[in-house]
């Protein structure tokens, strides 16, 4: 199950802003296996969406260079020129479900045409065949096939989201990046979409990167969890370990901030705000908000291996497994 599908090493992305150069993605590395789901967790502004953009090469105009290495199914992506990337990687290798997908469908083109479009453009399929395939994917994500003939405004928010998901899956990509796919939806619709995702994952064996700030929903799909803070990965662990025994003080604080049913314990907010990425602190980026900071935090910690599948960027774990937190 775990032969590497996507390997990311030392990925960086800079933005040029009025205030100077801002490193939104800073030395991020992870691996996603075939049919595996990686959840990237983090609060707003921590660089999650920039990570998605960096992987998809959807860079805004003020983006500086991309650094690091990305390998998809054994193929190095960064050396590819834009045209090759567009033709060969986009949508067949990597597909994206965007954050604001309420508006991700062209209002004047029928949904079916938009879902079938990648097949026609990238694979040169004729219209009828592409639409038949789109109908199959519609069934898979739980939409009736005759919705293909509708316009986006005739679908509810949840249906639109399913249609966008169908669009991402239509060309059977190796990996789908979901950027906050359910944030704008109500709880029931969220659950419906998450169920559809689980089914797709089981049936197609597609890899997923699910980017979210929602700890509760993400736990349903996750095989691995990567926690981002101020542009960096601060913890990387398999899901069971992360949700039961988070290592980084930020991860622990984040878990404590989630409301739980049938427990007297009240959810605790994390005081303070993430640091500005224009002028990040020299040492550990979480230090200013950390309840357990000490002298070492003035230096940037490397990632320490805490368990076989858990790495934590925190000086508390300098001696392997000594401090277990909680």
């Amino acid at each position: 199950m775990c032969d590497a599908l996507l390997e990311v090493e030392g990925l960086t992305l800079d933005y040029h802003t009025r205030g100077g150069v801002m490193r939104a993605v800073d030395d991020v590395g992870f691996t996603v296996g075939r049919g595996e789901a990686l959840v990237v967790l983090g609060e707003s502004g921590c660089g999650k969406s920039s990570l998605a953009r960096a992987l998809m090469r959807l860079l805004p105009r003020n983006a500086g260079g991309l650094g690091g290495r990305v390998r998809l199914a054994g193929r190095e992506l960064h050396p590819l020129d834009d045209e090759t990337f567009r033709r060969e990687v986009q949508w067949q290798g990597l597909a994206l479900v965007m954050q604001a997908s309420m508006n991700a469908l062209n209002p004047v083109v029928k949904v079916g045409e938009q879902v079938a479009e990648p097949l026609r453009v990238h694979l040169g399929w004729e219209r009828r065949r592409a639409l038949a395939r789109a109908a199959e994917v519609f069934e898979l994500v739980g939409l009736p096939g005759d919705f293909l003939r509708r316009y986006p405004f005739e679908l509810s928010g949840g249906m639109r989201q399913r249609a966008v998901l169908a669009m991402a899956l239509v060309a059977e990509p190796d990996l789908v990046i979901l950027d906050e796919p359910t944030s704008a939806l109500d709880v029931l619709t969220q659950a419906g979409i998450m169920n559809a995702l689980k089914r797709v994952k089981a049936e197609l064996g597609t890899g997923f990167i699910l980017i979210t700030h929602d700890v509760a929903t993400s736990s349903e799909l996750a095989d691995q969890v990567a926690l981002m803070y101020a542009g960096q990965l601060v913890e990387m662990a398999d899901a069971a370990t992360f949700f039961s025994a988070p290592g980084h003080p930020y991860a622990q604080a984040l878990m404590a901030s989630v409301p739980k049913l049938r427990q007297r314990e009240r959810p605790r907010a994390i005081p303070g705000e993430p640091p500005s990425l224009l002028d990040p602190p020299v040492g550990c980026r979480f230090a200013a908000r950390c309840p357990r900071r000490f002298a070492d935090c003035a230096r940037l910690p490397p990632a320490f291996a805490l368990a076989p599948r858990q790495e934590v960027r925190c000086w508390l774990h300098q001696q392997d497994g000594m401090e277990d937190g909680v």
Binding site: L58, F85, Q90, M98, N103, A104, P107, V121, Y151
Partner: protein, 366 residues
């Protein structure tokens, strides 16, 4: 869920919608034309001027006619009064203005524009419709050429610029945009000065050379005469048009669905056509059609500066002569054209935008 759609329903809805729009537009035209009639007659005050004019004309005629030289002055005055009364009755100036204005309105709405009071066409006709029709081709040719040129060049280069947003050409266009603060005739004066007098390459005004040449030579002469006014108009509006369209396209190029299309790896030509132009077709066409009807009004000062025999200078002369039928005639034609264009736009919107088409149907069917 929505009911299944059918062509029959679509058509029935469309017909109902068009009838409603038609009625609304008719009322609009009615109000517009009536206001023009009232304003052009200065609420009836022009009648007083006309009465004075009739009286002085009648007096002059009687005084100048040798047949009445020997007449006693009381008798002569009675004759003048009779003539004035006759003329007043002919022009129905004895009736209250309100009554006549309704009558005018009724005739204007039937496009019965009547006869001019002072002016006549070059061919000698006094019918307002003849006078207007004679001037129309000149205006349409000049303004059509200039505005079509500006429109297509602006939209095309704006699309090109929106891809190079922030580049050198883009900044140049932005810097030049304020040049449109000056109207076309302003540039016209300098162009005439430069290319007709300092370097006499082109004629300073008029539409063709004095004895109009025949055949191909006519076309060449026409083109030479059109060059300066067209250049003046293009100069005064091209940069701001490009700037406006570029901003328009930039806004629409940052829509989520355009971003999505980029993520899908679609070729940029396809993105431009299907994801930027197609959803924005309705406002583009609106702009185009409004520009087209704008052509019909001509431009008073520009036509004066270039001595161009178009509708603008006609209107200018008509105002000078207080020739109300000609002024009203021009406005009536313009109002009808505007109404027809707006109706056409409503129809096009319904055809182009599924949101208008289908949502409207839902409402119409309910």
């Amino acid at each position: 869920m929505m009911p299944r759609r059918s062509w029959g329903r679509d058509l029935r809805y469309l017909a109902l919608y068009l009838v409603k729009r038609l009625l609304a537009l008719l009322v609009t035209v009615l109000i517009g034309v009536y206001l023009t009639i009232v304003v052009a007659n200065m609420g009836g005050q022009v009648d007083e001027l006309r009465r004075v004019q009739i009286r002085s004309e009648a007096f002059e005629q009687v005084r100048a006619d040798p047949a009445f030289q020997e007449m006693a002055s009381a008798e002569r005055n009675a004759l003048v009064e009779r003539r004035v009364a006759l003329e007043v009755e002919r022009l129905r100036l004895d009736e209250p203005f309100v009554l006549r204005s309704v009558d005018y309105l009724q005739r204007a709405m039937r496009l019965d524009l009547g006869r001019a009071e002072q002016m006549h066409s070059d061919a000698g006709s006094r019918r307002v419709s003849d006078i207007i029709v004679e001037r129309l081709p000149a205006t349409l040719l000049l303004f059509g050429t200039a505005n079509l040129l500006v429109f297509f060049v602006a939209v095309g280069s704006a699309l090109w610029l929106s891809r190079r947003y922030g580049g050198r050409v883009d900044r140049l266009v932005i810097a030049l945009a304020p040049s449109s603060a000056a109207p076309g005739w302003f540039y016209g004066i300098f162009l005439i000065l430069a290319f007709a007098f300092l370097v006499p390459l082109l004629p300073p005004g008029g539409m063709v050379a004095a004895p109009p040449p025949q055949g191909l030579a006519y076309a060449i002469s026409l083109a030479r005469h059109m060059l300066l006014p067209v250049a003046a108009m293009v100069l005064s509006s091209i940069f701001v048009s490009i700037y406006a369209w570029r901003t328009f396209f930039l806004i629409h190029a940052s829509e989520d669905y355009v971003e999505m299309a980029r993520a899908k790896g679609l070729p940029s030509r396809l993105i431009e056509r299907r994801y930027i132009l197609r959803p924005t077709l309705a406002p583009i066409i609106t702009n185009f059609l409004l520009m087209l009807i704008g052509l019909w009004s001509g431009a008073i000062i520009l036509e004066q500066v270039f001595n161009w025999p178009g509708l603008g200078s006609l209107l200018f002369q008509a105002i000078g002569f207080r020739d109300t039928p000609v002024i009203i005639g021009g406005v009536v034609i313009f109002a009808y054209l505007l109404a027809v264009t707006v109706l056409l736009l409503d129809l096009l919107y319904a055809l182009l935008d599924p949101r208008v088409r289908i949502l409207g149907e839902g409402r119409g069917g309910a």
